[in-house]
Symmetry: C2
Subunit: 386 residues, 2 copies
């Protein structure tokens, strides 16, 4: 019997326990022996649960128990989660997490500690919930030079945009409905301003390009400025407006990265990713474009990815996965303003360039931001066209 | 320097060599040391190539060279490829392949030999070309009970159907164009009759359900009977006709499997998989539906998946991947006729059931084949609705 622990009994944490319980037989078959959740760490008590006796409030019990081989860190945040993750890794326990904030901020340090102690730090669930993405990217596409990652990484904003596109619902009403359905937090800032997507694209860029891309330095724009008129104008021209995280390697090996609403041509499969779903396109020099699609959140979906990582860590106890990236010293990031794009604009635009003057137009001459400002000084609502 | 060999220098085989050459630095970084293709086995000579000195015609040279740790079997077929794969595994060399015919026919035997000799038999490239699919399914979704796999697994037939749907091109003209573009073989039988898709869905079902599903016993229907009228009728009703491979587990643990044209609702992302692209939906009890999408064929895409498997085999020399399935003794397969579906039919149908009498109608009452025959004795062109 292999023993593991779960740090945090929120939505994902309780999901992790339930996945271990519900699919115990299959997990035992794959791992080679049964796996037991020995402890659940939470400051709250859950006396009504049939596994109430598993709860502990003192992290040291887990840290000092040599039986515990792997830990699910599903607390979130960069405070206690950061400290406990380091202490678990140093105690020789693999850590598997859905905590995108922590991975984006301190992933390289945690991976280095994991390497030093010959254990795993795995975080498949930190991007795209249960959608297989990180492992396929670094293993199945390992023979490729990765060139670009472009993804709809946040289900909340994609739900809001889908409501605006499909049903003509205003941003405010769509946000209120998302909150009512539990897709958006009471304070929706991290979603609608793009911070959540920004952490995720940074994690993918770190993995793809081998050096830390700091979320604080990545241009990050949300969806609060998009109007129903923009959505309608885009649709007339054959595009869907989507909030995407992009990271693109130049031939010189530098990287452009951003989170921003983009006009996506309807022929691109990303344009068909609707509602709370996520879709992530990865371009490799050998494989071309591949896309991963599914629900990017949800209790059991996310939990199942954490549990799969734990199974992998248990199976590969002797041989850890060689995941690492640099500390940012390579300074890969280029200023986004220099990335040439076709642009969508509205307002006062020059007739010679655009199809229409005021309603919203896609201008297909690739331009930097400075060139766009020079050529279209009065244009408003600029968005890049993918 | 780690040494490998390539068996076969056709399209994929030459691609494997080129991927090793072009991305040598990255491959060395990931694997931990450089990897050299020491031999290429082919009966033909290629004196014009700069690696002409690598070619051998005698398989024993590879088999008896203890330096060779992994072999790419990219010969195809179940003759020499089968014999050589067994001999490589028995000689302690991992084998990585794109040979779907061999994996579908003898995968369980080759996996058992690999296990016995503590080496890997890997075949990511056998389904979906370069699209990450098999490894994500068995690793990232390992905490799920897999419930259904439904995929567009053959790019040739999807190209033909897309031409029929989008451009009103007849089946014969679309096939001729596919042949002209190199998407279809001179003898297109294996593609258009569904045999290629059948091997692929069987491999995925073997992996998902743990016991051999024999392609010879799976109901397999191609696309030659689909008319432009069917395509148009489906489209009017909001469906796209796609050739899918399906494998579905029942609650009792048995399996329905088939290859057949299906009507896919336009809201299902599989309906948006166009041209030569593949899309594979996998449903797990925890994660729900996820989809993998990309080009399902192509020299470098397929080769890059073979090379990624070889890198993985080299990295995990001490600890092989625990992939296996049974020899078919569980007899999982149920007769397809008992699978209830909504149906599309045309011809003489009852007004009370269908929207129209002759042009093609979707009948949404779930029925088995016998029930359909009893209720709609004169209907023609029956296809299941997904």
């Amino acid at each position: 019997m292999l023993k593991v622990a779960v740090l945090g009994h929120g939505t994902v944490g309780s999901g992790v326990y339930e996945v271990f319980e519900k699919n115990a037989a299959q997990i035992a078959h794959t791992v080679g022996e049964p796996v037991e959740v020995k402890y659940v760490l939470d400051l709250r008590a859950f006396p009504e649960l049939h596994y109430a006796d598993k709860f502990v409030t003192d992290f040291e019990i887990i840290e000092k128990d040599p039986e515990i081989l792997a830990v699910a860190e599903v607390m979130g945040g960069v405070g206690a989660a950061y400290a406990f993750s380091k202490r678990c890794l140093r105690a020789g326990k693999s850590v598997c997490t859905s905590n995108k904030e922590l991975v984006a901020a301190h992933g390289e340090e945690l991976l280095a500690i994991a390497k030093e102690h010959n254990v795993n730090y795995l975080f498949e669930a930190s991007v795209g919930g249960g959608i297989p993405l990180i492992r396929p990217m670094i293993q199945c596409l390992a023979a490729n030079q990765l060139q670009e990652i472009c993804g709809i990484l946040n289900g909340t904003t994609n739900y809001i945009l889908t409501e605006m596109i499909r049903n003509g619902v205003s941003f405010d009403d769509a946000l209120a409905e998302a909150q009512r359905r539990g897709y958006a937090e009471k304070d929706p800032t991290a979603d609608i301003e793009g911070h959540d997507a920004c952490r995720k694209i940074c994690i993918l860029a770190d993995l793809a390009f081998g050096d830390k891309i700091d979320p604080e330095q990545v241009s990050c724009e949300g969806i609060t400025q998009i109007t129903l008129e923009d959505v309608a104008a885009a649709r007339r021209m054959g595009y869907a407006i989507k909030l995407v995280g992009r990271a693109k390697r130049t031939e010189a090996g530098k990287v452009y990265a951003c989170v921003a609403p983009h006009l996506i041509p309807e022929t691109n499969p990303l344009a068909s990713v609707e509602g709370v779903f996520n879709g992530i396109q990865v371009t490799g020099d050998m494989v071309g474009e591949v896309m991963f699609y599914g629900r990017g959140a949800g209790k059991h979906a996310t939990a199942s990815a954490v549990v799969a990582d734990m199974m992998d860590a248990l199976l590969h106890r002797e041989k850890r996965r060689p995941i690492e990236w640099g500390n940012g010293a390579q300074e890969l990031l280029l200023p986004l303003d220099d990335l040439v794009s076709a642009w969508y604009v509205r307002g006062e635009v020059d007739d010679a360039l655009a199809r229409c003057k005021t309603e919203g137009a896609a201008i297909t001459i690739p331009m930097t931001v400075a060139e766009r400002n020079a050529k279209l000084p009065h244009a408003e609502g600029a968005m890049r066209v993918l």
